[in-house]
């Protein structure tokens, strides 16, 4: 179990250590920000393409061809993840897809989600005529509206496979930001005794009124399904330079924009918090974060409320302590760093000294929780821990640490996946630590991550996952 100090934070909370021949036993991890069903269907639905960003154009065509070979006529072939910037001199066009199939509608989302690449049959079904089949933003709406969703049973099969994978990665809980259709999937799995991963649900803003009408509040639920927050967006993303900043992006003449005004947000948060519903507000740029902090400050503290900011990727230094002053949870996805460093440098320049400021958050007493934003990034928590504790491009140990002063140590990273996560879902009395009376959610690792070279953290493998005292995964 490494040195005594390594596990002291568990022991202090009544934790118990289990000595298993050099293995390390930890409380199960919770990924606090996922779009899990989307991930599950992307990965496991048989007519859905799982497009890795690094795929070549030829490989992608081959993949589509494969699906067309097995899919019955008329079946939609969909996918997500292509990035034309990776392809030299090839511009996506409907003709490439038409060459592969005129029997299947094909519609493929770009990695950033802003572009939909369709073949002629997909356009036809949507009643559209379009010269290239490359539909930007709302242009894609008519096609999206007619894409046939997999059946509920298909969804369940995909989700069950993804859950198995998550459990094997050391996760015993996940937070999901999705809608009521997806919520239903997990509830039916629970009803049928097939849900063995704990789920906290964050509802979209457009269900806030219904939550209030039925008085469904944050923290309500059972040990497998719990109501989380209402999720609200305030800006875009770093990748598309749409996160809202105080100053312009480097070298260009814009600074992103807010998707909602402060006053309106204030009304929404007040309304939700007053009714016992906590908020999880997406804010990436420093200005968006600043506005959300203003709002939380104005709204004040309602009983039972545990508000969060999702991502909090870049901040004005003076805003960091406002999280703790106002009891706001910072919900971060450290693995974003692995891919974002060049982008962040390029767009935010020197401002990056307060990007993903893990150490500053902790120094200021802020409650930090970790997640992955899967399917945007991999949900393997050891990649997250590595990212938070080393801050290296592509999680490549050869690279320099990026703003190493903001690295936190492995213990602190583990806390963000365990005790921090448990607090955010109102479960600090039953989860997040190894303690008598707590749910027995444990993972056994093949190495002591508190006492190894950082590069070895990436190789960590989970030997056993135990949920509610039941061994549900063993390598």
């Amino acid at each position: 179990m490494g040195e005594e100090k390594d596990i002291s934070f568990f022991s202090q909370r009544g934790g118990r250590e289990i000595n298993l021949k050099g293995s390390l036993v930890l409380p199960g991890f919770t990924d606090c920000h996922t779009h899990f069903t989307e991930y599950a269907v992307n990965k496991y639905y048989k007519y859905r393409l799982n497009i890795h960003e690094s795929i070549t154009f030829e490989e992608l065509m081959e993949l589509i061809n494969e699906k067309a070979g097995i899919a019955p006529s008329g079946e939609w072939i969909t996918g997500w993840g292509w990035n034309k910037n990776r392809w030299n001199n090839i511009l996506p066009h409907k003709k490439y897809l038409d060459e592969i199939s005129s029997r299947h509608p094909v519609a493929l989302d770009s990695k950033d989600g802003h572009t939909l690449w369709c073949n002629s049959m997909a356009l036809k079904i949507a009643g559209m005529d379009h010269p290239t089949g490359i539909l930007f933003e709302n242009e894609g709406r008519p096609v999206r509206d007619v894409i046939k969703k997999p059946s509920k049973e298909h969804y369940k099969e995909c989700v069950k496979k993804a859950i198995k994978e998550a459990i094997a990665s050391g996760l015993t809980g996940i937070h999901i930001c999705e809608g009521a259709f997806e919520f239903n999937i997990y509830q039916e799995l629970f009803r049928d005794g097939e849900l063995n991963l704990r789920v906290t649900w964050h509802f979209p803003l457009d269900l806030l009124e219904e939550m209030i009408s039925t008085q469904i509040k944050s923290g309500f639920g059972n040990e497998y399904i719990r109501i989380g927050c209402v999720k609200i967006f305030t800006d875009g993303s770093l990748g598309s330079a749409s996160a809202c900043m105080f100053e312009n992006y480097e070298g260009v003449n814009h600074s992103g924009k807010l998707l909602i005004e402060e006053e309106e947000l204030c009304n929404i948060v007040t309304k939700a918090n007053k009714e016992g519903i906590s908020c999880a507000i997406h804010a990436i740029g420093d200005k968006a974060n600043n506005m959300v902090l203003n709002v939380y400050e104005q709204v004040g503290k309602f009983p039972g409320i545990r508000n969060r900011i999702e991502h909090s990727q870049i901040l004005r230094p003076e805003d960091i302590k406002r999280f703790s002053e106002n009891h706001i949870i910072a919900s971060l996805q450290p693995i974003h760093i692995a891919n974002d460093i060049p982008l962040a440098e390029n767009y935010w320049g020197k401002r990056c000294s307060y990007a993903y400021p893990f150490a500053s958050f902790l120094r200021n007493g802020v409650r930090v929780i970790f997640g992955s934003d899967v399917p945007v990034e991999d949900f393997n928590p050891f990649k997250g821990i590595y990212s938070a504790s080393t801050r290296k491009y592509l999680n490549n140990n050869e690279k320099q640490s990026w703003y190493p002063g903001e690295c936190i140590n492995v213990e602190q990273s583990v806390q963000a996946y365990t005790v921090g996560a448990a607090y955010s879902s109102y479960e600090e009395n039953i989860k997040g630590t190894i303690a008598p009376g707590n749910l027995a959610d444990l993972i056994i690792l093949d190495r002591n991550i508190f006492d190894i070279e950082s590069e070895d953290i990436l190789e960590t493998s989970v030997k056993t996952t135990i949920i509610s005292g039941k061994m549900i995964f063993e390598k």
Copy 2:
């Protein structure tokens, strides 16, 4: 503990008996049909009159006078329960109330809920002019709309007192048929650690859409607050001769009427059941019950659904077995018998041989659960057990049993309050029996109700109530 057979149904289910010097230990009782908040506020809100049906006119005037003495000017004095048929030659009129107070608006509901008796100030606040202040049905709406509700804090205080009373009566759980405002009260008590009675919530039909939008399903929740059914009305009541019968009420030319058509009900039930929401349908007359059975039959069995009929007071004999054939729970309030016998005889005549047919239900393998319909009747479960096992007018032991063939024994009655109740709230694996692994919800009685004269059942007193292993009441 009486003879062995007496407790065999607990033992068979893994129950354990505890011998406590002649006391009897039972699983805590659940009252499966209450309007608990209404009861709490009626009884405990300081400016609310708790009018017993047997009150004389003079006593009532005295009671109002008392409240007027303590209530600040302008405070509403409200109440429920007066019955002019009990008063010789006195017709209620606003003038009597005006004589007592012109400083307080006064509005008093009749026992049957159809008439509102107001003073001039109440009428004035509602912007009405009315010669007598006796408002029938919808006439009362403008006044009801302006009656100032007690504050949420007042509600909580009342509910806490009523909970204390329920626990002292041997209840460890209740089902509540009320709206979202009331639901909130219990959730806030739970949040603040002040809810020590288990609650199952039945939502009104007008929240069905919102339940579906958020995918809140029956059985969801924690060990203190659980989502029950959506409640739907199909007819009126025996007292007002508005329960819907196949044949006319005796001696008159009407048979009550359905409040909803079969087809519409079928659509609603299908919609709810499909989404995992069970239905609790109010049906009192034989025709209403028949229609609900038709509907449940047509809708069929959706996974996880546990539909109920509330009251099921009178049935065609051939309809009884349809409950078990279609897995429908019969939710009855045996204490209604104590007051209803003369009314039922008068209105239903010979048809009464299938009124409150407890024994027929059990003989046909129907799952029966018991409740009180509080505030309509007293929630003391021993009165319910006495009623079900003796069927005597006014629970008076001197009277003859009414259709004694439909009496059930004490064990069967206890089951309806325990194992039956637990099943109806999806908690048969944690409640309703004394068994290892179950919640430790127990009551200790001062006598062995399985082995005493029936009249002594009414005198039963609860010595101790234990919820979740914690002694929360001791005499």
